[in-house]
Each structure stands twice: as C-alpha cells, then as structure tokens.
Symmetry: C2
Subunit: 235 residues, 2 copies
Amino acid sequence: MTDKGQAGSGRKRTVGRPRRIEAQQIVDVARRIIREEGVEAVSMRRVAKEVGATPMALYHHVRDKDELLLLTLQGMAATFPRPALPADPRDRLLTTAVHMHTILSEVPWVLDVLSLGDLTDKEALWMPEEIIGSAIACGLTPTQALHAYRTIWYVVYGALVFQRADARRAADPERRPFFPTFLTEEDAVALPRMTEMAANWQESKGRYDIAEQLEAVVDGLLRKGRRHASQSPNS
Amino acid sequence: MTDKGQAGSGRKRTVGRPRRIEAQQIVDVARRIIREEGVEAVSMRRVAKEVGATPMALYHHVRDKDELLLLTLQGMAATFPRPALPADPRDRLLTTAVHMHTILSEVPWVLDVLSLGDLTDKEALWMPEEIIGSAIACGLTPTQALHAYRTIWYVVYGALVFQRADARRAADPERRPFFPTFLTEEDAVALPRMTEMAANWQESKGRYDIAEQLEAVVDGLLRKGRRHASQSPNS
DNA sequence: ACCTGAACACCGTTCAAGT
DNA sequence: ACCTGAACACCGTTCAAGT
C-alpha cells in the first residue's frame, strides 16, 4: 500500500518517505463531500481532515483547489448510461444535446467546475463528438459544426445555471424578489410586455421546455448546412 | 447630512442615533472595488474599512453580501448608450441580443451577480422588452416569445462565461491544459472529430462569432412564428 | 519524497453592549 | 436607530523544518 505502480517506467518507487495518502483518496473524499453537502462544503482543510492529514499534505498531490475540483469531475460521465441514439443525424444531435442537459441537471454542482473551462473527462467527449459529427453529416463544415456545438453547449449550460438559481431562491423563504414587484404603473408605458408577463413570471419559468428550445436552436444552426451543402462541402 | 428624506412619509427622521454611513456610500465603494480589482476583491470587511466603519455597520443597510452585490448592479445599464435599432423586428431582436453580449463583455464581473438570478436593474429591462416585443411582432405568441428570450439570454450568458474562463486561463502562465493534450492515438478511433479539431482548438475559439451564432439561433426560434402566424395568433 | 506545524492574511456573520 | 468590539467558525496558501 505504500508503493504505487508507475506506468511506463515499470519500477516501483522505493526512494524517499513512503506515501501516507494517495491522490485518489483525496479525490474520493472530495467527491463524497460534494455529493452529500455540495461544492461549497469542499475546502482543502476539510478534505485534509477527512483523509487524515494536514491541509498542506494535499498540495503534494494536487496543484491547488481548482485542480482538485477538476479531478473530481473525472469519470463522472461514465456513471451515466449512454443513451440509444436515432439514425437520422439531426435527431442524433438533438437527442445528445437534450441528454447533456438531463445528466447535468442531476449533478448541478458540476456547473461550477465546468465553468473553469477545461474539458477533463474523456468519458464525456462522446457528446461533443456526436454533436459535431452529426452536424457535419447535416452539411456543416467542421468549423461550422464546432461553433454550432459551442452554441448548443451555451444554451444547455445557461439553462442549467438559471434553473439552479431558481431552485436555490425557492429554497430560501427569506428572499424578497426584486422583479417583477418593482414595476410601477408608469413603467407599463415603456415596458408593456414585461408588465404583461409580470403576473405569471414564476409560472412561466416552469413551462420552459429545454427540448423544444434546443430543437429550434439546432434547426437554426443546421440551416446553413442545408443551404450550402451542395455548393461548398469543405471548411 | 445626518437626516434623509423619506419618500411617502414626508417627515425627516429625527429619532435614534444619527446615521454615519449611507447605503449609497456602501454601494459606491463596492462598485469602485469591483471596477478596480474585480468582484472577488469585494468583502464586507474590505468595504467597511473603505467606508470608514466596522464590518457589522454594513448589516444595518444591507441584508447580506448577496444583496450588496445585487444593489451594485443597479443603474449599470444606464451607463451604456442605448443603440439605434433597425425597423424590421427580426433585425431589432438580433441587434438587441448582440448588444447585450457587447455591453456585458465589457463588465464581465456582472456575470457572477446575474447568476444569482434576479432582474434588478430597471434600466436594463428595455432589452428583454425589445426582444420579446420583436418576437411577438415576428409571429410568436407572448409565451413563445418569453421562452425565446430566455434561450437567447442563455446563449449570450454561456458565451460570456466561457469567454471569460478562456481569458483567465490565458492570463495564467502556469496552467497545464487538460484538453486536447490527453487524447491518445487509440482515442482517434472513437473520437475522430475531436482528434481532428484538437490541433487548432485554441485558434477555433477565437473564430467563434457570437453575432453569426445568434443570427442562426434567432432564425431557428422565429420559425415557429412564421409557420403558425396565420393559424394561431394567440398564446 | 512526503508530510507536519506554525503562520500569514484573510473570510461572513451573530450577539451583546454602547451611544 | 445606528454603530462598535469581541468572538465564532472558518478560508487558501507559503515556508521552514522534520522523517
């Protein structure tokens, strides 16, 4: 337990002080804390305590807290079953996009780590691969397909962020909502639509259907391909 | 300076200990710190120090740190000139959406406050008003228009979040990027597109054109209206 | 090589007391 | 009514020293 196989070198490490904690232990503990209490409960000190070491011992295995969180993400995607996809590329694309939203809404804490910006989990790459591949099959150039993927990802990500914000505010009974209560009668002149919508603002949030929206977005993004597919098939 | 006009009551406050700090002072200081050093530099203790009071004095004027940040946002939109909009509703919608992205990319710290989820700044409401109104003019029902606005907002918000993440990582010379360096030759079989794109991954980010993407998204979202406009004009 | 201990420079917020 | 002082329960990270 004090040594660790080194892929490539083929030799066990024998020099220096033996390890007391493994990087994997640290990541496992962080993952459990997140699952049970949320990302905001993760701190270097807390993880260290639960792993049975001082805070500083962690810095021997991870560069900083951001890296620990990024590692925590690794392998997450593998825990979700990969869905069966339809044959038509446009439908494959859409199904994959909706699937991204579905799995992430079950693990909303991931959003904070994802916003650090790096792709870290190889098991998750089949989704951009599928979306980009399908977009190309629909007539987009590789570059257009990549940009389309980004746009789709932004819709999914944004929807999840504000979905979570709503859930958080709903959970806090002390909250005093700013909008739409601060609209006055004078505002109705300059802001007729907003005033009209104000009454069932909360309710309308519940009616937002991500699959329906993604369908419209995807169709918009693929139109470029349909138009030019026969004229310029390369990027 | 020790009293404050009370709108509605019409009487100056004369009871109790005179005020030493005004809520507006607190917000102003917070805004300056954000402008000069970023949101992460704002703390109750720091603001209190610069306003010349103890941390706890702030809690007499704002409920907590979140409320302070929300107040900081108020009036932000008024500092940006409102653009001239074209006559055609589809173009008005698109121009407004791009404008949202443009002004927010100049004040990226706002993103963190916006993700708290509340609309707080009345001066910013002309943008959703314009987008929703134009969408209705293009044939969407009010409900469809509201949902379309949300989707557009998610694209704008997502693009800004990851744009900022890229800028942050680019500023940190110590960073070791995970993707695409961790792709092996075996991965090329399962992930041909991702492997293909890996070479100019960074470069392709720079080529992402938000206006072009929003145009496709908007057209996708408006199609529903064009199809059904003559059949079912109400929600 | 790996880990500890002490320290630095911070946080948000509660509570009781003062003016 | 408004503000202070002290305290509670935390943070991430650096640095020098120990095994």
